[in-house]
Symmetry: D2
Subunit: 319 residues, 4 copies
């Protein structure tokens, strides 16, 4: 499904279910796609950080993307993360993604290396030139340890390099300044980059981002409750901000599952991904809640807390 | 004016005008207080970061607070920043502030030293015990290099240590989780800490913070356009979120004055304070736009850009 | 005692003993000065980070400096830390230090604020102009969150603003580049800044710093074992690097006292200062090992581990 | 050449020369290997950060390692970097490296993700179990944004997971504490991990690291002047620390080539690698000084400064 208009709405980063051998569980992954599309989402983001892309071999990445594209079957666009250290390596992932049927690419700035903004601009431009698919910049300083400046994003939006931004920077003030600079909120065309799409990865302040003029959201916990984010999005689009805020608050209560248990002390990354996957298993969507090695698995106690959070949010576990 | 109810609304951090000798210009400061109170603000925060408190000697701090308290004359509450490295030093500032008539205190976590959360809790508790004024925690990691956790804030809200939070952390997701945890948005009493007041220092996302249930805002650029922030606040309180967002966007365009000129390359801190003070001079509120040594002063070119931003926001300079 | 030649040798940052009420214990402090001067040190640094300067009120700082100057009685130079957020506040401390008889001043870059290198240069220059005492720059990014560049230090050394550097940055490669740039190791005059003195605060690599051409060391654990650092220094000056390294290794074993007990988990700052003061109490030098509020005190278990480290290093406790 | 004893001495991270198309120039790379082995180095580290490993595709990595192994022909051990985000991806690189004849592996902690120390331990253990080659931990926080603790290194040294450490952390105090903990300096067997090898990546303080008991060094600028680092190492091993320090100082003057020209403002990483490769071209070792896209290339002005630094260090350019 090609992106004929700016991407908008709820675009969850699809979790990657594993089987008992740690390989991609394609049957569970196809069920997860059904769960999400059935929940009304507007697109899917495969091979993002929440998909544990950094833990998957190239073969596993291919299996994931092929499974998501096939299961989606054109009902919504599929964005593919092409996450690697620098340009030449990312281009290889991008070619594979195009061959496997992705509708758009999502790439970060280079990481491991220290890279100047001019070099980052060159990185995105070469990537855009190498593979003819809409390209989203993925601003995720917590992973790549540099921030994409508003000036850089605007330059690459206006010259057509970028089709959009996935902003996981947590810098809401900076995002707001970018949105004001781009112009065109509430469905009116943005000025110099009319088709540019801004998606927030800040899943706890989606009502605020939509009020500010963002086009959509990429919520990790949208794996668990896609319909909730769709309700939030629909209320916001209808201008019913109070309902949007209430739905956001319910989702924040649900999100507290990431604090579950003693492994929360071991760092948010593991526990967040682990709790999302545990929730999907408890809801009967996927068969196993394991995360990729070397991540430490959730304890039974934490899984119980995840279960409790699901009940509290009106999503009763089926096991 | 005592704080009989939770503090709410627009509470600008009052700039500190200087005379040609670099001393506090009390006449200009009194005019600035009139400008703010006349603009409809709900409180004043003297001796905050925007007041250049870290640059002022103890004598100068006393002059500032005395001037603000006298000029305000009880029309709105005056909060006093008590900013110093650790507890004993902060207590001394707090005693002075009480003597000079402050209505509440605003204190950060210790800085220069590395301080454990348990020690930070002890810091706020001893401060509250030492001086009988409502105490606000000032969460400003960019200055003190530690973040106050939601758990710590809730603990100190619920045991009565804190009357409120001024959140300048920029962590909007964390703030949202705190607000959901505290409960009681839209004027209903918060659960276990019914009088606790949450003010955001993120002046570019105030509509979002109010939608999320914050009680008010401490906007640096509210020095320049207090009436704009009051309109934003009133629209939000009336549930007119579209108007609130439009007003926020106008204020963001105005805020772009901080990017003015070549000294913007020298770091945001200097240019932001310098541009606010330049704007106040251009508007005829204060006599001189200088910032405290060793900050480098705005160039004429930058002042011209500030002037341009003022015109663009409908605030024509008078000089 | 004026600094007629570049400062060199062992210059411990003097701990600040407290009495049961948390006030400065001047009798213990005078005994500590005797312990240090008797150990052969070449200078004393009062009111540094290890002295808990950031925890002391202005009155307490005055008491400390007066006590150290009087107890030292001109036998070695006394450097005074003048630690505060920005220039005007630091100048006030500097004037007090001069009045109380300090032989030199030690100042950091501004903190709490974000300050451009040009502004930092202005800060040191105004400080040097305001008070006529030799001025040392204190490079301590862990506390002030900016690093003094080699270019800035060289500029301020060559124009006579600075008499020396106390380098607590931990950037040994950068220090080495600075030393090569300054020239003049092994007692030969440095080129353009012949009297400039470089002291390392990295107490675990003092042999290395001296091999690299540093003039001396400011070792926190030199409070506990001043004679050990003097032996290290003397061996290095004699070119006996193997002996110097052996002594450094013994001191590293002693330094492991900072890892003592469960409060080590609470952050190095508290446990390091607490263990030094506990050791001084165990050695009979000071009466009480308490650190300033709100720092959490060492447990009995940790004090036992400090005692064990003292024995292991040949410094048997007397209580 | 198998590692029958702990690795020691000078082990340069081999630069990766490129041809005009940006592909690996194998002829130049073979000449560089001759330059290094001819300079007396004790081992070679292919596919490290200085080799621009993060910029190379898997095919290019294979070409590099094959070329280095063949050109070395068993005269010294060849270590291969296996740099990727997490365990499964690193294991794939490790299997390739083993197949291509590497004598040892060098792996970092996971990056892009946030990883707990227990997970990092699992990462190294699984890697060691998967491929039967000596494994070095590569501590490089500037690239991976986590620090390997001394406790973790000791645990993995003592249980046989690790054969050594390449320490590029810049934390010389921490390295010293580790070395004291491991025991056995000056050729005597280390206690519980007798064959463990500690190599420093801090190329400006090698004399200090050897004095502290390190076994060797991995110097980036050793590509340019391998014989200089061998002289430094030999002097240190002979206990002639003054000669070692003098040689280190000459190499520091040479290292100043990384500050060359305006692109130094663009970040150290680009200019350092670019200046090393420019120097190798000027010395006639490789044909082209280009770095991998998207890195910005050195200007002619900067190349002239590199040339000047070479002359100053007694290494006259041949072109």
């Amino acid at each position: 499904m090609s992106l004929t208009a700016p991407l908008h709405g709820v675009v969850p980063p699809v979790c990657t279910p594993l089987d008992r051998d740690g390989e991609v569980d394609t049957a569970s992954l196809a069920r997860l796609v059904e769960h999400l599309v059935g929940g009304g989402v507007h697109g899917l983001f495969a091979l993002g950080s929440t998909s544990e892309v950094a833990y998957l071999t190239d073969d596993q990445r291919g299996t994931v993307l092929e499974t998501v594209v096939n299961a989606t079957d054109g009902r919504v666009p599929v964005l593919a993360g092409v996450i690697d250290t620098t340009t030449a390596r990312v281009v290889e992932h991008a070619r594979t993604a195009a061959r496997l049927g992705a509708d758009a690419l999502v790439a970060t700035a280079p990481f491991y290396t220290r890279t100047h903004p001019k070099e980052i601009a060159g990185h995105f431009r070469r990537l855009r030139a190498a593979v003819d698919l809409p390209l989203f910049a993925y601003d995720i300083p917590v992973a790549v340890h540099s921030k994409l400046s508003a000036a850089l994003i605007r330059e690459l939006a206006e010259d057509g390099t970028l089709a959009g931004l996935k902003d996981s920077s947590g810098d809401e003030g900076g995002l707001r300044r970018l949105l004001v600079g781009l112009g065109g909120r509430d469905g009116r065309a943005r000025g110099p980059a009319p088709h540019f799409s801004v998606l927030t990865g800040s899943e706890l302040t989606v009502d605020a981002a939509l009020l500010a003029g963002a086009d959509g959201v990429v919520p990790g916990i949208g794996n668990v409750d896609p319909a909730g984010y769709v309700r939030l999005y629909d209320a916001a689009r209808a201008g019913d901000w109070t309902t949007a805020a209430r739905e956001q608050e319910r989702l924040i209560e649900l999100f507290a599952m990431v604090d579950a248990g003693p492994e929360a002390d071991m760092g948010r990354s593991s526990s967040a991904l682990g709790s999302f996957k545990a929730a999907l298993r408890l809801l009967g969507v996927i068969d196993d809640g394991a995360t990729v090695f070397p991540q430490i698995q959730l304890s039974a106690e934490s899984v119980a807390l995840v279960s409790q959070r699901l009940r509290g949010a009106g999503l009763p576990p089926v096991r």
